[in-house]
């Protein structure tokens, strides 16, 4: 069914593309929002990805790869959007921890803000790998294919992303503890 729609859209059928876009846009919108954490930027990224998909659809050689291809376009659009605002945010240098030096922060995660703060500190590429794997439930080889990186790189990128998230949560936990115990000056 989808293949038929893609074939028709490749030949310029707007209705077919509208059906494809309609079926995908909620998923793309959510993924873009998760990567960018900004409603307007997410909208722009989705729009850019879908417009580009329409424009370049005739160049897609394998219609069965439409979903993966659109995900790739979305990731690229999100990274572009993120870079556009990169200069306006404060980057915090994080060091990945091999083993937690504090009690496991996961057990104490009740605060979604903590996760969001940790997530926001990641580079767009690392956010993308997390969203593709942990939100869209794509296996790591599919993530690698979408991002155009070797499987080993995708694995290490995922590992690094999660490590940095944990480091960020650890740092947050330390600050909380210090605040509670009045050690911050």
């Amino acid at each position: 069914m989808q293949r038929d729609l893609v074939e028709r859209a490749r030949k310029g059928d707007h209705d077919a593309f509208a059906e494809l876009a309609g079926a995908a846009i909620s998923r793309l919108d959510s993924a873009a929002w998760l990567m960018l954490r900004d409603v307007e930027q997410a909208k722009d990224a989705v729009q850019n990805a879908l417009v580009r998909a329409w424009r370049d659809l005739p160049t897609l050689r394998d219609p069965d790869r439409f979903d993966a291809w659109v995900h790739r376009l979305l990731v690229n659009a999100c990274i572009d959007e993120a870079r556009r605002t990169r200069r306006h945010r404060l980057d915090v240098e994080l060091t990945e921890l091999d083993t937690p030096s504090m009690p496991d922060p996961v057990s104490s995660i009740a605060d979604r803000d903590q996760l969001e703060r940790g997530f926001l500190r990641l580079d767009p590429e690392l956010r993308a790998v997390i969203v593709l794997h942990h939100y869209l439930d794509l296996p790591v080889p599919a993530v690698a294919a979408i991002l155009g990186i070797p499987l080993g790189t995708a694995k290490s990128r995922l590992h690094r992303a999660l490590g940095l998230m944990r480091a960020a949560l650890d740092a947050d936990a330390r600050v909380r503890t210090d605040l509670v115990e009045g050690r911050l000056t």
């Binding site: 030949k11 846009i25 919108d29 959510s30 729009q47 005739p58 996760l115 939100y135």
Partner: protein, 430 residues
């Protein structure tokens, strides 16, 4: 369950909850934009029709505004000139397949018609080649024949094209391929006895005299087939894959082997393959986030020359925050031309030393493009005599071809802009 697994589970739950209630309310906006956006035909990509190093060559001057009488007279003179050229060329010395040559006549396509242009008078003559939408003329390296692509009737998608060959004067017109879907990228062999081309990712070798083309089954999926100078014993091409490779294969389909030794960073590596005139280097563009030395943010392309024997890659110097794309060698192999990409969203052509020693000189105006240089609507190549760069600015819908002299003298537009406008210059013996 380990703490890592618990953490990943927590992460997944958080993402699902956070993304679950988003309602996409802008589908109509997206569709409004796409309804106004033209699709890019698969067959009309500049990369497909304009091999930077081989098929796209010059075209000249603005045609002077003559009145009708003078124009008719000039056309007759030009026709006579072409006839004389055809007769005379059989007795003239032919140029070597590579190296500097004299500029001969120009052949160009515009709106489906082929024209011959005399560079000394700027007069153009429509070539009577029968019915069909004809475009992308390309001379053999000795300048005695040219090939072009023909669509019988309006161009459709996917395009069904036939490769045609004719003598330089337009005589002895014949087909060298059957009508072929997605015929794409082609190159004359150095001795002019074969033409390599790609159709639907399959590499073929055609005989310019006609007959059934030879399929090279080991060369698929392939792109950018280019004969390796000086003798054309091998065809270099890009093996299409998630991680492409630069490969070489003999024209009889045997002896396939890799040339590149570095693993491609991603599917965008090894774009726009070309060769140096002496056949020792293969040039290409990397388009990869892994090219960190161009820009810390990545996403800028960069051009390389790779040693055919060792696979060692040489980048060309560039300023921080700028990229490069689309490298072409001068006929004598001492210079290269590429586009410099500026992060603010512009590109400009640059000529530099081929040995990578720098000395970049800009040519022509800055033109807009995306900040990552991914949508440059231009192609360029040196004239056979190496004194100028011929640049097509635009796309298949509308393009104008400029002649940019390397000595800095004023540039000229060769002909008014048209659809499917392509040009090539005949090489003649020095």
């Amino acid at each position: 369950m380990t703490s890592n697994e618990r953490f990943e589970q927590t992460m997944s739950s958080w993402l699902r909850e956070d993304g679950a209630f988003r309602v996409a309310d802008h589908l109509d906006e997206v569709l409004a934009v796409t309804s106004e956006t033209r699709q890019r035909p698969a067959w009309s990509s500049l990369e497909r029709w304009l091999p930077v190093d081989t098929t796209f060559r010059p075209r000249l001057f603005n045609a002077p505004r003559l009145n009708q009488v003078l124009l008719v007279a000039a056309l007759l003179i030009a026709l006579l000139g072409l006839l004389l050229l055809a007769v005379g060329s059989q007795r003239q010395r032919l140029p070597e397949p590579f190296g500097p040559a004299r500029n001969g006549i120009f052949v160009m396509s515009r709106d489906g018609v082929l024209y011959a242009i005399d560079p000394t008078t700027s007069q153009r003559t429509a070539l009577a080649l029968g019915e069909g939408f004809d475009f992308s003329p390309t001379f053999s390296r000795d300048g005695t024949r040219f090939l072009f692509l023909r669509s019988d009737g309006p161009l459709t998608e996917p395009a069904i094209l036939t490769m045609m060959v004719a003598n330089a004067d337009g005589s002895d017109l014949h087909a060298v391929t059957p009508p072929t879907e997605s015929l794409d990228w082609f190159d004359w062999s150095p001795d002019g006895t074969r033409i390599a081309y790609v159709a639907k990712g399959q590499l073929w070798v055609a005989d310019p005299r006609g007959g059934r083309p030879l399929m090279l089954p080991d060369a698929k999926p392939a792109h950018f087939p280019t004969w390796l100078p000086p003798d054309g014993k091998e065809i270099v091409y890009r093996l299409e894959a998630t991680h492409p490779t630069v490969m070489a294969i003999r024209p009889d389909g045997t002896g396939r082997h890799p040339i590149s030794v570095t693993r491609a960073n991603n599917g965008y590596d090894f774009q726009g393959i070309g060769v140096s005139p002496d056949g020792t280097k293969v040039t290409f563009t990397r388009w990869s986030t892994a090219v960190a030395d161009v820009d810390r943010n990545g996403w800028l392309p960069r051009v390389y020359a790779m040693d055919v024997e060792t696979g060692k890659e040489m980048p060309f110097p560039t300023a921080s925050g700028t990229g490069q794309v689309g490298i072409a060698y001068s006929p004598d192999g001492t210079l290269v031309a590429y586009a410099r990409i500026h992060r603010e969203g512009a590109f400009q052509l640059v000529v530099a030393n081929a040995d990578g020693s720098g000395n970049e000189r800009t040519l022509g105006e800055k033109k807009p493009c995306k900040p990552d240089g991914s949508n440059i609507d231009a192609t360029w190549v040196f004239t056979p005599d190496g004194t100028a760069l011929v640049v097509r600015y635009g796309n298949d819908d509308s393009a104008a071809t400029h002649l940019l002299p390397l000595d800095g003298s004023p540039s000229s537009i060769l002909l008014e802009a048209g659809r499917f406008e392509f040009a090539d210059v005949q090489r003649r013996a020095p």
